[in-house]
Structure formats: structure tokens, C-alpha cells
């Protein structure tokens, strides 16, 4: 679902970024106002979970791949506004350091994964919680609807490009983009999001209930242990070969016979790899750097007396 550069017109990118600016401002205001200061580092843990979740690529028939996002998990634990900031930071690190998702399309990616996904996921599970007594079912449905709503938004953004901009950008219209994005998300990736969200939530509730009760002072040890385990397991994401639908590079599009405008940002470790090194090692290294940065960035916003 990470839309690279050149797939969306600058106009689409500008509009989605313009929509995100008040969302970010509202989220920052709300987090500052409502979330206790000691809870702010927990947003970093949420961003770290989201970052690792997006590294577990799942193969699909036809050679494409996809992944869970984990935005609903942070939204349930800390609120949708905190989740918006957490996923935004995870997406920013992915785009700048690893070239996963574009720089121009950063606003569009944030709109889909940092705004639509956590807000729809959170409010769906909140409404369902009143109707269904089983917490896991409401969380599962919330996360499933969240990721599918985000995928639908991405599909619409892709699909309107040939209608508005004469094949200068994404060449597939709505009749192709919607089924191509929605079928995998309604089946495999939606299921992956349910498993990730419910699994991690159940683990946190059992081992660190202070987080679900919003009383955690710092990231508890079981959560750190789970993050370490996820980092070690990230090379499993490399088992899925191929590129997710809509995330092809310029070279792959040219091989399909499409010519696209070429704006590229030189990422430090493009596609989580380094030349001449085993992909597994580079993948684990990327996960360590990404997770550490997620944890550090949000700790910088915590107020603490100078020592």
C-alpha cells in the first residue's frame, strides 16, 4: 500500500498532503492535551510495531505481495490520534531511509495508512464493543475494516490518475485498481491485520496490562521482548518474492511497456538492502535502525527534568 513517487500526480499528492496537515495538527493537539506525558514514549512503541508489521511481506498468487500495518493496534492502545502520529513517523522513516513509499506521495500514504486506517479501525471497534461482548471480535472487525478502507482509498487514488491526467502517472483506471487492491486486502492481508492486531493486543493485555489501562510509565519489558522477536523474524518477509501491486519501480513499469515520469529520492538503504550483502542481514539491520529510531523520536517529546 506504500504508493511510490511518480504513480500519483503532484496535484493528488498536494491535495492529500493538504488534507493531512489539519489532521496532524489536530492529532498533536489532542495527544498533548489528553495523553499523559509519561505515555508519550508508548507512541514510539506503537510506531515500532507498525514499522515491523509492514516488513512482514505476505506472498499472493500472481507474484504480488502485501503486509499488515498495525495502525488499529496503536489506536486501541493509545487513541486514534496517537496512532496517526505513530504510523506517520513509521512511514516517514520508511520513505526517507529505506525508499519504501514516495516522498511526494508521503501525504497520500499518510492519508491512507495514518488517518483512514486507525480512525476507522478504532471507531468501528468502539461501536462494536457496545454491541458485541467479545473484545477480540470487535478488535478483529475494526482492524479488518480499517485496512480495507485504507486499501480502497489507495485504489481510488491510483484509479483516478488515468481519468484525470492522461496516462502520465498510474496507467490503471478504477476498473483495474479497485479489484487489484481490494481482493488481496479483503482476503489475505485483512486476515493478516486481524491476526497481528488481535495477537499483539492479547499478548500485551496478558503481559503488560498497564498499557491497556493507560498507566504505563515506560515501554514494559515484555513489549520490548516482543519487538526483539519480531525484528529477528523479519527476514521471513523476504520469503515473499515480488512487489506489491502499485509499488513497482520505474524499471518494472517500463518492462510492462509503460513510460512514467522519473522523480526519485536517493534513500540511504533502498528497499532495505545494501549492495553485495545478504538480504536477510540487511533486513534485520533495517528493522533494528527503524525500530530504534521510532522509540527514540517519541522519547524526545517526553518532558523530564534536566539531570
Amino acid at each position: 500500500m506504500h504508493i511510490p513517487d511518480n504513480y500519483l500526480s503532484p496535484e493528488t499528492c498536494a491535495i492529500t498532503t493538504a488534507v493531512m496537515i489539519p489532521v496532524w495538527a489536530y492529532s498533536i493537539h489532542k495527544v498533548k492535551k489528553e495523553l499523559p506525558d509519561k505515555q508519550i514514549p508508548m507512541i514510539g512503541a506503537g510506531a515500532a510495531f507498525s514499522f515491523t508489521a509492514m516488513m512482514f511481506n505476505i506472498p499472493m498468487p500472481g507474484g504480488t505481495t502485501g503486509h499488515a500495518i498495525g495502525g488499529t493496534l496503536t489506536a486501541i492502545l493509545l487513541g486514534p490520534e496517537a496512532a496517526c502520529l505513530a504510523v506517520t513517523i513509521a512511514l516517514f522513516l520508511q520513505a526517507v531511509l529505506f525508499g519504501d513509499g514516495g516522498i511526494l506521495s508521503f501525504g497520500a500514504n499518510c492519508f491512507n495508512m495514518a488517518f483512514v486506517l486507525p480512525f476507522i479501525g478504532y471507531y468501528t471497534q468502539k461501536i462494536l464493543k457496545r454491541i458485541i461482548k467479545n473484545e477480540n471480535i470487535s478488535i478483529g472487525i475494526g482492524s479488518y475494516l480499517g485496512i480495507n478502507a485504507a486499501a480502497l482509498c489507495a485504489a481510488i487514488e491510483f484509479g483516478i490518475q488515468p481519468l484525470l491526467f492522461n496516462n502520465a502517472y498510474c496507467p490503471y483506471d478504477l476498473s483495474v485498481s479497485i479489484p487489484a487492491m481490494m481482493i488481496p486486502h479483503l482476503t489475505v492481508f485483512g486476515l493478516a491485520e486481524i491476526i497481528f492486531t488481535c495477537g499483539v493486543y492479547a499478548f500485551i493485555k496478558k503481559t503488560a496490562p498497564e498499557i491497556t489501562e493507560q498507566k504505563a510509565d515506560s515501554t514494559p519489558k515484555p513489549v520490548i521482548a516482543l519487538l526483539v522477536l519480531l525484528i529477528i523474524l523479519t527476514p521471513l518477509g523476504l520469503l515473499a518474492e515480488g512487489t506489491a501491486w502499485g509499488e513497482w519501480g520505474i524499471d518494472e513499469m517500463e518492462a510492462l511497456g509503460y513510460s512514467m515520469k522519473d522523480f526519485s529520492f536517493p534513500a540511504i538503504m533502498p528497499d532495505y538492502t545494501l549492495n553485495g550483502l545478504p538480504d536477510q542481514a540487511a533486513y534485520i539491520l533495517s528493522a533494528v535502525i527503524g525500530v530504534s529510531l521510532c522509540l527514540i523520536i517519541f522519547r524526545l517529546f517526553k518532558k523530564e527534568a534536566e539531570i
Binding site: P266, I268, M269, L274, L277, A281, A282, L285, V288, I289, S292, L293, L295, I296, R299, L300, K302, E304, A305, E306, I307
Partner: protein, 237 residues
Amino acid sequence: MTEQILKAVSRFRRHNGKDNLPVHPGFCVLLLILVILLTAFSKNMFFVYCVLAIELLILCTMKTAALKRTVHTVLAAAALSILITLPAILLKQTTLTITIKVIVTVTAVCILNETLSFSSLMQGLSFFHLPEMFLLTLDLTVRFIDELASTAKSMEEALTLRSVGKDSWKTAQTGAILGTLFLTAMKRSEETHEAMVCRCFDGTYRISHKHTWNKTDLIPLILTIIILLLFFILEVQ
């Protein structure tokens, strides 16, 4: 200006003689030197990223105030490095390699600064059998900077209180402050020397090695082994 100097020097006083982690200072200094040297020698960015990943993990375990200080320093160093290499980057003569190496080395220095007190740092330097005169001069210099910065700040405050608003003569008095500061430094150094002689100073600078072995000493040792192994596997082979 004096405030900035005071802020920088206050870092040396911050630990109050206590280390944030009771590790062997000699091993820590050795690890720092290794990180700086091997990062400079490395041609393979994978080694540099591995060191960066280790440093980021250490930063995650640090206290928030120490983390903020480190990040501010590292960002300033990175910004300066980008500014210097910007023409080369724009001409595509170089990439961000230099900046990343600067980030790695400055982070290593900051972590050491936040982990050890100044006296432990001196102990760590003595581990390498550096000349006594060098260590004595370094120790006295740091202590004097703190003293003189406070004196300069007092003189500047006295000057500011004499009038309101911007006066050109205030700027002109900077030379007078510096001159007075120099004379004060000379006077203080004589007093310090006399005080040291009175307390049986015979020119020998003694550093007591009271550090007792504990489990935390293994941290810098293990990190040293990991970094050396990584370097030989990735760079030498």
C-alpha cells in the same frame, strides 16, 4: 556567548563525580577510539550501519534528558557536515557517506560523555599510559574553564546592569572583559600552584585505580569484540 560556554562546561560538572553506569573507564575509552578509527577506515557502509544500529540501541536505554542532549549534539554535527559537503552532494561527487560517519562518531562520543563522569574519563585516559603532564594539564584546563566562564558571566552582568538598551560602548568593553579575564586566569593559576605545593605536590599526578570488576564491565568488552569481528568480516575479508 558566556551562557553557551557555561552550558557546555556544565556538562563536566553534571555527573557530580558519579558514573551513570559503573563500567571500566579504560574499556569505554578503548571502545570509543576503536569506533572512531574503524568507522573512518571502513569502505563498506554495512559496517557503519551496524555500528549505528548498536549506538541507536544504546540510546534507547538512556535517560530522556541524556537522550535529548545527545540528539541535539548529533543533529548539530550532522547539519554542519551536510553544509560542508553540500556542494559535493549537489555536484554528485559524494553521497551522504561522510554525514553518516559523522553521526556515528559524534554519537559514540556523546554516549561516552553521558556514561562517564569527567574524573572517570581521566582514569580511562590514564589506562593508556598517557603522559602525566598531559593529563594534569587537561584536568586543570577543564576545571579552569568552568571557573573563568562564571567570572566572565558575572562581569558581563555587571556591564549590562549599568544601562538599558543597546549601547555601542558595551560591545567595545568586550576587550576589557577578556583582558580582565586573562589577568584573573594568571592570578588563579598562581594561587592553584601555591595551594598544590602547600599540599605536598611534587610534580607527580596520581590517578587512583579504584575500579572493582563487575558484570557491567562486560558490556564495553563484548561491544569491542562484536565491532572488531564485524570489521574483520566485512572489511578485511
